[in-house]
């Protein structure tokens, strides 16, 4: 029984992180219909920025989050300006999806190899005084880094909810998502909205990177693993359903923890991928059906 509650606790902590690392991917896909295959690479890049701040200046990884957000936001603006904005001219959504996929492939190759040049191909992680320590709550052990990751995930998800749901900018984003042309006729600067959304999306990937480098490890070409997790969570939540992403992450974390409990750790990723295929086939709209506005 204790083993089982431990599994559940672990699943919740990991699941929150899964939700966090999907937010950026879901935002780009939901708002602009860009499939960012380089999402995992940007997560790793964010992790490296945090790692660099830690080893150079001894900055606590959780305190470096605002700096990482600033850096990755700028990266997102550049990525949108240089590579993604020309795609908006493409006529159909399908074309845009496929081309954005190919372009972000190119980005993977560029950024991965730049990271290899700058940081060497070794596996890195932040080892702070609190790493590996855990604390006991209700008779169950929670690792400190896991709890911090959980807290960051919740704070970020709630912040994103308020930005998208309660601000003028969020209103613009939702309008541009529903019908970009009509939004621009109503006087919304769609390009600026897209630009800032891209910045936010990449910054969110960076935050996830900070959590990953402090509780797991990163290497220049380790982005694919996180990208696949993000795909699974995005499909579970349903495309364009950004508010459901963290709950979907929690569900995946729990299912995975239970799956690992039953069949063993080497098949951890396989569990997630099998869940993924099952969802794609039987519930392609995701677990949480999006409420549709009456038209």
């Amino acid at each position: 029984m204790e083993m089982f509650t431990q599994t559940i606790a672990y699943g919740i902590l990991v699941g929150a992180m899964y939700g966090l690392l999907t937010l950026g991917l879901g935002l780009l896909m939901g708002v602009m219909k860009f499939l960012n295959v380089a999402h995992g690479t940007f997560i790793v890049l964010g992790g490296y920025v945090s790692y660099w701040l830690f080893t150079r200046y001894g900055l606590n990884p959780y305190l470096s989050i605002p700096l990482v957000i600033a850096v990755m936001f700028l990266v997102g603006l550049v990525v949108y300006k240089v590579t993604l904005s020309p795609l908006l001219k493409l006529p159909s959504v399908g074309n845009r999806l496929n081309s954005s996929m190919l372009i972000t492939f190119g980005i993977i190759y560029v950024v991965d190899n730049l990271m290899t040049i700058f940081w060497k191909p070794d596996v890195r992680s932040i080892v702070a005084p609190f790493t590996g320590r855990s604390m006991e709550l209700f008779g169950t052990k929670f690792s400190i880094t896991g709890l911090c990751g959980f807290a960051v995930a919740i704070v970020v998800a709630v912040a994103l909810y308020f930005v998208l749901g309660r601000t003028q900018f969020g209103k613009h984003v939702r309008a541009a998502t529903q019908d970009a042309e009509a939004a621009s006729l109503c006087g919304i600067n769609v390009h600026r909205t897209y630009l800032i959304s891209s910045g936010i999306a990449i910054a969110l990937a960076g935050v996830a990177g900070v959590i990953i480098v402090s509780s797991y490890s990163i290497s220049p070409n380790g982005g694919l693993r996180w990208l696949l997790v993000a795909f699974v969570v995005m499909i579970l939540a349903g495309e364009g359903n950004i508010n459901a992403i963290v709950p979907a992450g929690l569900i995946l974390g729990l299912l995975e923890a239970v799956g690992v409990f039953i069949i063993g750790a080497p098949y951890r990723q396989v569990v997630a991928l099998v869940i993924f295929i099952v969802i794609l086939i039987f519930r392609p709209q995701g677990l949480f059906r999006k409420r549709r506005l009456a038209t």
Binding site: M101, L102, V110, N113, L114, F231, V270, I277, P284
Partner: protein
């Protein structure tokens, strides 16, 4: 695309030089190995092109077919099967794998097909890595009378077979159906094309050819440190790049792209070491953005410009 007598004779000269030159000139084993790798890339990129370029289905799980070909060929060859039979069985088992992967994923449209295939391929890679945790190698007797020529000619033969197969497919009614599915799946369905069947057959052929490429690769390698390395996504990404840079949905584009990729890797690996792949990323982005027809498109454009210039001079 119909061949004129002129281009047929050019092709014949190229093919003959590939056959005869290695017999006359001693290229040395490293050059021969690069050529064999080039053939593997041509087969892989052309068979990816069949799905991605002609049928419009971006298959990101392509490495699974190649890896399956390598693994099955290697295991059968080790257990005493004649190598050519082993390669054919390797190709067939890749096609069988395509049935397993294709049935669930081909119902998915567009990006979801891509995501679904990469998920299945990764699941397979992890399972294979768990089943074969240690290195795989052939007994020493296999390497004692090593001869590069059968490997070279096998690679060349299968590369030619691949190109001919794709050429014949495009000429056929089935090829037309594939292009229809790519251009507008709904319209294709309405005009009476069985889109699922079309995609499925294209995937089977593509997987079979990729399995044969795996066989050629396995024939040339005696030792695999980690067999799961041949299931790595890089075996999907590099053919994809060769196709997109060369010109997707064309017969010659993937060949040009492969030559480009192999030659550039050889050059840049000396300068940049491990990071040499950065060049392909830098090339891929502008090609997708500004010239979706790839290098083939540039060549056509160049031909037009030169043609225009000579015509002006004649006047």
């Amino acid at each position: 695309m119909r061949f004129r007598p002129g281009s047929v004779s050019i092709l014949a000269v190229i093919a003959a030089s590939f056959i005869v030159l290695p017999l006359i000139v001693d290229f040395g084993s490293s050059t021969m190995n690069i050529l064999i790798l080039l053939f593997v890339y041509i087969i892989l990129s052309q068979s990816w092109n069949l799905m991605g370029g002609y049928t419009g289905q971006i298959n990101l799980g392509f490495a699974a077919f190649f890896g399956c070909g390598v693994l099955i060929t290697h295991l059968l060859w080790k257990s005493g099967f004649p190598i050519y039979l082993a390669i054919v069985v390797g190709g067939l088992s890749a096609a069988l794998l395509a049935v397993v992967i294709g049935l669930p994923t081909l119902h998915l449209r567009g990006a979801y097909f891509a995501i679904g295939t990469i998920a299945l391929a990764e699941a397979l890679r992890i399972v294979i890595g768990n089943i074969f945790p240690s290195s795989l190698s052939l007994p020493g007797s296999y390497a004692s009378n090593f001869n590069v020529f059968p490997r070279y000619y096998l690679g060349f033969g299968i590369a030619v077979l691949t190109l001919v197969t794709v050429y014949l497919l495009i000429q056929s009614k089935f090829g037309l159906a594939m292009v229809c599915v790519r251009d507008d799946e709904e319209a294709a369905q309405v005009t009476g094309i069985n889109t699922f069947k079309t995609k499925f057959i294209a995937l089977l052929i593509s997987a079979f050819l990729a399995g044969l490429a795996g066989g050629v690769y396995a024939f040339n390698r005696f030792y695999f440190h980690h067999i799961s390395a041949v299931f790595e996504p890089i075996w999907t990404f590099e053919p994809l790049m060769a196709v997109v840079i060369g010109g997707s949905g064309t017969l010659i584009g993937p060949v040009i792209g492969s030559i480009f990729l192999v030659v550039l890797s050889e050059v840049f690996v000396q300068i940049l070491g491990e990071a040499h792949l950065i060049i392909f990323g830098i090339l891929l982005i502008p090609v997708v953005l500004y010239s979706p027809s790839g290098l083939v498109g540039w060549m056509d454009w160049l031909k037009k410009v030169i043609g225009g210039l000579t015509r002006n001079n004649e006047r």
